[in-house]
């Protein structure tokens, strides 16, 4: 009897996971098609943090992302790892205190907030807004 409950639970979990994947996929399509409305109004820049981050960076695009749910260092470890999987990412800085993540991209990168949101989502946090700055 209990074996059946466990197997049913696992089956339901897998199906819910599949449903979520479909939803995520649709979300991605929506983001790409709508060119993404980015709310950067809440993004306040910490000058000292930003200046340290961009020092010696060279010509780049710097994205400052506001993140919800980034309350724990151990839980935020995947953010750096996932962004560095992209060869066009030059530098990543996670700030738990400000709830922001700074990402420096090569100029060849087409920055897409939908893609950024999905990376945060895959790590368990929510990106709520971003500001893009060009460094020359």
């Amino acid at each position: 009897m209990y074996k059946i409950i466990i197997l049913t639970t696992l089956f339901v979990s897998n199906n819910l996971y599949a449903m979520d994947n479909m939803h995520d996929h649709n979300s991605k399509q929506h983001d790409h098609n709508s060119h993404v409305a980015v709310d950067g109004s809440k993004t306040e820049l910490d000058d000292a943090m930003y200046n340290k981050f961009v020092s010696d960076l060279g010509s780049s695009q710097v994205v400052i992302v506001d993140v919800n749910g980034m309350v724990c260092d151990f839980c935020a470890r995947g953010i750096e790892k996932t962004f560095y999987d992209d060869a066009l990412v030059k530098r990543v800085l996670v700030s738990l205190e400000t709830g922001k993540v700074l990402i420096a991209y090569d100029n060849a990168k087409k920055v897409d907030f939908g893609e950024i949101k999905n990376i945060f989502l895959s790590n368990g946090q929510s990106a709520t807004g971003m500001t893009l700055k060009k460094i020359t």
Binding site: I6, S13, N14, N68, S95, L96, L121
Partner: protein, 201 residues
């Protein structure tokens, strides 16, 4: 969302814990753990194909029954709420043992945390060939200082735990430390050490 709440409620009602810091990793992430207490010690590896789901295998040395076996475990994220200052999670977990057809468990695990405070619960209903039992666990914690990313983080924790084979609640303090990809929890109750080590990659 409705179905998640229904399943969570259903499992909560029909089951009765092992609170584990983040039982699911980031998408594509892996975790290894070692855990030891008065009842058992175990080595556990899990992989997260998605941030919502993890599967893993655990080698368990059961000190209570003097038995060793492997358990296949799956955890599903039922619900998550992120705010600027907090995160709340609710997980469903289930496991099947290689020992016999009668050895399995299922349950729920929930946690809420800010950078300063932590609270969690876990309820596991275990079906064992020797005797069925339930593990209930509650934890609260406070960080005496707020560490920044890559620094050493320290949590002062209080755990209250019931194993129905003992039929009594045990409450004891422990300390949780993490830095980088490593986490260590150390506590002591009734001359036994509770040890939990975790690494993510």
């Amino acid at each position: 969302m409705g179905i998640y709440k229904f399943i969570g409620l259903l499992v909560t009602l029909m089951s009765a814990s092992i609170v584990e810091a983040r039982p699911i990793s980031w998408t594509g992430g892996s975790t290894i753990m070692y855990k030891s207490n008065s009842m058992m010690s175990s080595y556990y590896y899990h992989y997260s194909p998605s941030f919502k789901y993890s599967v893993g295998a655990e080698y368990i040395n059961d000190r209570y029954y003097n038995d060793q076996y492997i358990s296949i475990r799956s955890t599903y994220l039922l619900d998550r709420k992120n705010t600027k200052a907090s995160q709340r999670n609710l997980y469903l977990t289930a496991s099947i043992s290689t020992k016999s057809n009668d050895d399995l468990y299922y349950g729920v695990h929930g946690d809420w945390e800010t950078r300063r405070y932590f609270a969690s619960f876990s309820i596991l209903d275990k079906r064992a060939s020797q005797k069925d039992y339930t593990e209930n666990e509650f934890q609260i914690g406070i960080a005496p200082y707020l560490g920044e990313y890559n620094q050493l983080h320290t949590w002062i924790m209080l755990k209250s735990k019931e194993d129905t084979r003992d039929d009594k609640w045990k409450t004891y303090p422990f300390i949780k430390l993490f830095k980088g990809d490593f986490l260590l929890e150390v506590g002591s109750k009734e001359s036994h050490w509770d040890l939990h080590f975790m690494k993510r990659f």
